[in-house]
């Protein structure tokens, strides 16, 4: 299995590594870069738990190879918090709405919403609901997430 040198700007810092070509971005983030906030839950692109932001786009890190992230900017859930420790508004809205229980799928949900707001600071509620349609959660019945979509729509806090 061939190995490749890659450099990824991960949460604002350059990370250099040698990875096998078959290594997924998700495994690279968790195993090589120590960013275990990204969770792998289906590893076939359905559940959305492993979503990270690559060059501004929400990406399933189980379906992207680490070598494909070479030279790109990757943001994981660990990179969302402000330097003063205050939560990103998506994180705050999630907490306020009790939108998580076990928290395993949560990082992916947060990243999808963060990417959606980055792409369009004033999304509609249906836009956000559409974005959330690609996430599976087994605990909450999505009740809190629906409230989050409503709250964040139109750029609301």
């Amino acid at each position: 299995m061939s190995e490749h040198a890659i450099e990824v700007i991960l949460n604002g810092r350059p990370v250099r590594a040698r990875v096998e070509s078959r290594r997924t971005l998700g495994d690279f983030l968790r195993r090589d870069a120590g960013q275990t906030g990204t969770h792998l839950a289906c590893e076939h692109g359905v559940c959305g738990a492993c979503t990270v932001i690559v060059d501004g786009e929400a990406v399933r890190s189980c379906l992207m190879l680490a070598v494909q992230a070479d030279g790109r900017k990757v943001t994981t859930v660990e990179g969302l918090e402000a330097s003063d420790g205050s939560l990103h508004r998506v994180q705050q809205a999630m907490q306020d709405a009790y939108a998580l229980q076990c928290g395993y799928c949560t990082p992916g949900v947060v990243m999808t919403l963060a990417a959606a707001l980055e792409a369009n600071p004033k999304p509609t509620e249906p836009d956000l609901m559409e974005a959330l349609s690609g996430h599976l959660c087994r605990c909450t019945g999505y009740q809190g997430m629906m409230k989050v979509a409503k709250r964040l729509a139109g750029g609301g806090e």
Partner: protein, 776 residues
């Protein structure tokens, strides 16, 4: 007792969860998130056939592959003398079970060998290179096959795991049916489903030099895991430390370790190195414990006024090859009468082994009692020609009937089935809906209203490991409160709810209380999550421990303040003389004295501020109850069901945190929606699982569920704090509520819904060739 409403400051409030920040920022500690130096990774070689003999395992080439440390079959584990817990659990017709397959395989996915390598990629490479020859045999897959087919387990004579019936001959019940004006029968074939927690099973086993073992494991109670592991490997209990800080859902699947977790531990003991395994989704869906598969035939006898005379339920469960020591048929038959006046009830129950993945508890494992009874009541209402709310009104027990001894044994008390139903029906507005329904039918649109009422047996502290929970609470010299609890959260939020109870009980700020769970070396013996019991037993033990601690705090403070304990009150972390708030000592000041200044302590009093209490309520089963109602539209062209509204009126006694309670209800209801509309862990004729990815095993998405409307009644039971459990209820009452709504929508077609799930293809098959009766 029952003084919560008066003393409340944090209990009853929608307080944000302490768990959330770490989980929202990616700093949770799920099993596979824990960094372990030098950890190897495991992968299993699994059977591709449902039944057959293992002729040969050739791992020679695989052992030579890069990064491979070991490949073990069950024979290699012999030096460990591991004891694997019996599968059936009930002591009847137990199959032989090894950590891995012994010399035959009994379901697709049966683990045959474990490969340990530098990482999972290399372990999978090697697993694919292990050659296993099988001599395939005919598998039994369904209940029908299990009845007549060859034994799924070759050492057993047949497939009947456990059989039971109330009485072969019950003339009294027969007489009730004979004199009945109406006898209504119904059937439900409930197909298999699976828990599908977002985090699959995971374990990291770290042996240390001194014969000690630290096991990070995704589970429902680290205390119980440590116990299971120490028993399996003959290790002193104190040598095994099980840690589960964050767990990504369990729902009954992670009560006991599977053979895989035990095999990973065995491999780590053999290699004397840390070994970890986090199952992938294929393993989680096809090899982890499953739930529910049951065939139920049931009937009720009614008099001319539609009053229930008696009931009977016959139940067959397919528990697969190696079930997790549980089948809930006894509870199904016990609870079948529900909160209704039923004079006599009979049952027959049979549990069947098959060559499929084993069954375990799934959120409300006895839920068939509500699904059967509530769907039958709707069938009866249609047959007799009265409204579904009317047949319930004529039969539900009242407050005056309580305590009400069910004919099957349990005593119902402090429950509000009538009150919750009245509220639910008011909220959904039955009259307005019926008008809308009649109009819709004229236009060829089929909308329906469903309702269901149930009582939920929570706490389950009758005997065994569920009997009690414990809390060890201490005020540290810093004035902060630490509670070591035997409760455990897989999303339940007990770090928050238990802190609310403790803050109120001691009179300290919520922020000053930390609840420590998830580590068997800290929490005492307890069963953790399972049986909807943590609010009652965790909350109760926390309150008792705090009462003792508060007494001591006041003793010390009274001595320091030249007062008497009975004149003191504690609020917001300050101890003051009642009526003189300006004269106070802080909890921190008193705590420092208690630990650090013996000369200022009352003579003879032990230093420190520490307390422990173990709690079991006088009534070991605390019943909570609820009534739900929902409306749906069924597209008769596509078979798709759209849920329009969902009303949940729950009575779980004194509520600790309404948002947490609603989270439990919603999670259960939505699992119930998945159960009724889409979840189907199907097997083909050869026993191959037909759902291997989340594209085949469908669970609800955000677009499949309504925003649930809640109402709460708070009728306390006579236990410490007046709390009742609420964890499983949504998954119990959700399915009959939804099935009844769909049946109501399709009533003009005269179809009977006898399968779960009510998938679009099932509904279309039922509707094929049928035309609706004239809209009325």
């Amino acid at each position: 007792m029952n003084d919560v409403p008066n003393a409340t400051r944090f209990v009853g409030q929608r307080i944000p969860r302490k768990e959330d920040r770490r989980l929202l920022t990616g700093h949770g500690a799920f099993t596979d998130d824990v960094p372990i130096a030098g950890a190897l990774e495991a992968c299993f070689v699994r059977s591709p056939i449902a039944k057959g003999r293992i002729v040969r395992v050739d791992a020679a080439a695989a052992r030579q592959m890069p990064g491979v440390h070991a490949i073990y079959t069950v024979a290699d584990f012999e030096p460990l003398n591991a004891v694997v817990a019996a599968a059936g659990g009930q002591g009847v017709n137990q199959p032989r079970m090894g950590l891995l397959a012994i010399d035959d395989v009994r379901f697709v996915g049966d683990p045959v060998a474990i490969v340990v390598a530098d990482n999972r990629y290399l372990a999978e490479d090697a697993a694919n290179a292990v050659l296993v020859d099988y001599e395939s045999e005919d598998a039994v897959v369904t209940i029908a096959q299990a009845r007549v087919g060859a034994p799924a387990h070759r050492e057993l004579d047949n497939n009947l795991g456990v059989g039971a019936r109330s009485a072969d001959d019950d003339p009294e019940l027969d007489a009730l049916f004979a004199k009945a004006a109406h006898v209504v029968s119904h059937t439900i074939n409930h197909r298999r489903l699976t828990h599908a927690p977002m985090e699959g099973r995971a374990v990291a086993s770290v042996p240390t030099g001194a014969g000690e073992l630290t096991v990070y494991v995704s589970c429902q109670s680290p205390q119980q895991m440590a116990r299971f592991i120490s028993e399996a490997f003959n290790l002193p209990n104190a040598n095994v430390r099980a840690i589960a800080k964050d767990v990504g859902g369990a729902f009954g699947q992670k009560i006991s370790p599977g053979r895989e977790e035990l095999s990973v531990i065995a491999a780590s003991l053999m290699l004397r190195r840390p070994v970890k395994w986090a199952e992938d989704r294929l393993e989680s869906l096809t090899c982890a414990y499953t739930g529910r598969e049951q065939e139920a035939h049931f009937k009720m006898a009614f008099d001319a006024d539609a009053r229930i005379l008696g009931g009977h339920i016959e139940l067959h469960s397919n528990v697969g090859a190696y079930p997790a020591g549980i089948h809930a048929n006894a509870l199904v038959t016990t609870l079948f009468p529900g909160p209704y006046r039923v004079a006599r009830n009979g049952f027959k129950s049979e549990v069947w082994y098959s060559n499929t993945t084993g069954l375990a508890a799934y959120r409300g494992p006895w839920a068939m009692e509500s699904l059967a009874r509530e769907t039958l009541l709707d069938v009866a209402a249609r047959q007799i020609g009265i409204a579904p709310e009317e047949i319930r009104a004529r039969n539900l027990i009242t407050r005056e009937d309580q305590p009400y001894r069910m004919c099957t044994g349990p005593v119902l008390d402090h429950v509000t089935p009538r009150e919750t139903l009245a509220l639910a029906l008011k909220k959904i507005d039955v009259a307005a809906f019926r008008e809308e329904q009649a109009e819709a039918r004229k236009k060829g649109r089929y909308i329906g209203l469903g309702m269901a009422v149930y009582v939920e047996p929570t706490t389950m502290a009758t005997a065994g490991v569920l009997s009690s929970e414990t809390a060890y609470v201490r005020i540290e010299p810093t004035g902060k409160v630490i509670a070591m609890m035997s409760t455990h959260s897989q999303g339940h939020g007990t770090e928050t709810t238990m802190a609310q109870v403790i803050a109120d009980s001691l009179g300290v700020p919520f922020a000053d209380v930390s609840v420590v769970e998830g580590d068997s070396s800290r929490g005492g013996f307890g069963a953790g999550a399972g049986g909807s019991r943590q609010a009652v037993l965790g909350g109760g033990s926390a309150r008792l421990a705090c009462q003792k601690l508060l007494e001591k705090l006041k003793l010390v403070a009274a001595h320091v303040m030249n007062s008497q304990p009975e004149f003191l009150e504690v609020a917001d972390g300050k101890i003051s003389v009642r009526g003189e708030p300006e004269v106070f000592q802080t909890v921190k000041q008193i705590a420092q004295i208690a630990y650090l200044t013996p000369s200022r302590m009352p003579p003879g009093l032990e230093l420190g501020l520490e307390s422990q209490a173990r709690y079991r309520p006088d009534t070991p089963i605390i019943f909570s109850n609820a009534s739900h109602a929902c409306t749906v539209e069924v597209d008769v062209e596509t078979g798709l069901v759209k849920i329009l509204r969902w009303v949940a009126v729950e009575d779980c006694g004194a509520i600790i945190n309404p948002s947490v309670v609603e989270g439990q209800i919603a999670g259960g209801v939505v699992q119930g929606i998945g159960e009724v509309l889409m979840e189907d862990m199907a097997y083909d004729d050869l026993g191959n699982p037909r759902a291997a990815t989340f594209k085949d095993y469908l669970t609800p998405t955000i677009h499949d569920v309504p925003l649930i409307e809640y109402d709460h009644l708070e009728t306390p039971a006579k236990n410490e704090g007046g709390f009742k459990g609420v964890g499983e209820g949504g998954a119990i009452i959700g399915p009959p509520t939804l099935v009844n709504a769909i049946a109501d929508a399709l009533a003009p077609f005269g179809v009977e819904l006898t399968q779960i799930p009510l998938s679009p293809d099932y509904l279309l098959k039922l509707l094929e060739g049928r035309t609706p009766a004239h809209a009325g």
